[in-house]
Amino acid sequence: MTIKQRRVFIRILAAIAFTAAALLLSALFEINEYLEAVLFLIPYFIIGYDILKKAFHGIQNRQVFDENFLMAVATIGAILLGDFKESVAVMLFYQIGELFQSAAIGKSRKSIAALMDIRPDYANVILPDGKIEKTDPEQVAIGTLIGVNPGEKVPIDGVVIEGETALNTSALTGESIPQDVKPGDMVVSGCINLASPLKLKTTKEFGDSTVSKILELVEHSSMKKSRSENFITKFAKYYTPAVCYSALALALLPPIIRLILGDAPHWYDWIKQALTFLVISCPCALVISIPLSFFAGIGCASKHGILVKGSNYLEALADAKYFVFDKTGTLTKGVFEVTGIFPENGFTEKSLLFYAASAESASNHPISLSLKRAYGAEPDSQRVNGIKEIAGQGVTAWVDGQQVYVGNQKLMQYAGVDILQTHNSGESMVFVCVSGTYAGSIGISDVIKPSSKEAIAALKKMGIKKTVILTGDVRDVAERVAREIGIDLVRSELLPGDKVNEVEALLAAKGKQEKLAFVGDGINDAPVLSRADIGIAMGALGSDAAIEAADIVLMDDDPCKIALAMRISSNTLKIVRQNIIFALAVKFACLFLGAFGIATMWEAIFADVGVMVIAVLNAMRAMRIKR
């Protein structure tokens, strides 16, 4: 409890004690009305003086119609009608409710903040004499040597100088597989060192480090308000005055009509009903539970490595019906790999790869690199000489004294051999000729991420209307990828500018309520990311550009996270809707009952506090999602 909360708590206890004493005295002794008034007014002022003060203050500043005003009018009215007990009870319950609300919100704030507990408390700065000093991370300059012991968080982004270890990145990415690092590797702040001590040289200041960026982003996220939140704020603006005027009408009109009709006016009953009406009407359950739900949802997403930059984006994601993907690096790994080896004329897979990798050993082209990777070892440079590149065709080299050609079909014509059989296993085919003999072909392609197919299927299951690939790649390749993972529409051979046009066309064609999301890797697609209703960047860990450009940022590059983000979004929205409907329904039902004198003031206060508590507890459910 905060000091403020404790003070209210003590006042509540005191008021309860005085009320009990007053009840006891008035039950045991015959006391007159004036003495009774004094006895009950003591606890009334103990518990309600600040409400009265605030209400008075509000009237002074022409800010009537807030909760304090409602409570003050309702209880003073009850006192004037001689219902001392009721006025004390209403004030008491109201304060208990407020205390409970403030405790519940404080608790939720803390538990959501705990989901994002990545802020490091200190950095172990290594001084020139080898001593270690615990320092505030904000004080550490770029280029400082820091130590990270097992179990500690990496406080600032840096490069490993000494030590090899595994890092737990789950607080950033939601990914539980540890990342191995060795000297020369970049490490991002927020990771936890799992195995052995690490010495780092910082490459950024704390304020520019990954942790700060993420925290700032999440903290600001609740400032971008969703439509539901704006609706509630607007609603509350009209609701409270409307309720006050209704209460006034309820207090005056029926008795006056009765008077005109010649009946007894029953002023007492109608005024009391009007006061009950006022008590029921407090809008706080609604006003608090909606932003709380969104905040809990955003907290849940960050726990899974999904950063949502605003409640509005979390809300929009639930309405996303069109998903447009970039291909390379998003659905595919963006790294070439050997996907098929077809030896001929007595060569084996191993020997074919050996000749290809050896001839390509001097090149850093992605295709050469993929051949070397597939071969599994660094080709022995002693056995290779006379490497010569033939532009647009491939390379030729002498391997173990044999002339080898590695390249495309044209190069095989040049080498004077026929390609025996064509296989079509990938995006590019590499042909190999050894000493005038055709040795076979190797298929190389950009590999589809293992979870891409599953991710698209999961999205479709959630009612996505259309999935689209936009790529600069050739048509054959794009269509093969699309077929393999179940994408509906392919637009290939696009220039970067064309992508924006394609997205514009899709935006124009979709329904008004439907949203379009673009998923990219944040490199070269910033214009599209910002043009789409929701821009999602993947694999953003350590990439500031992607974090800047997108609305939703996936820290790792697993496309399945998109479906997870959508589930979190619809779960949050479901809870928001439940709260709106539940709070409004109970409120209006009680207002109705109160207006006809069926609900008493006691029930009214329970309705108000109860609805609020249930709505807050319900909102907290948005923090969890089944995996």
Partner: protein, 72 residues
């Protein structure tokens, strides 16, 4: 120019009113308040003295909700 301030306010409804009051203060272009993180983001107009503007904003807030605070 943008600045972020810590705030103290008790209820969500009051927070919404506080935001309105800050927005209405001369010298402030836009303001956004998060009740969840108890932070206030203020965008100032060009060339104003942020401190004096914020003191005025706080005064406006106190008018509508006596129980609030902006940590300047």
């Amino acid at each position: 120019m943008k600045k972020t301030y810590g705030i103290e306010v008790d209820c969500a409804n009051c927070a919404a009113k506080m935001e309105e009051a800050v927005k209405a203060t001369p010298g402030i272009k836009n303001a956004c308040l998060s009740f969840m993180t108890l932070k206030l983001n203020v965008e100032f107009e060009e060339g104003v003295d942020t401190d004096s503007v914020m003191r005025k904003a706080l005064k406006n807030c106190k008018k509508i909700e006596s129980d609030c605070e902006i940590y300047l």
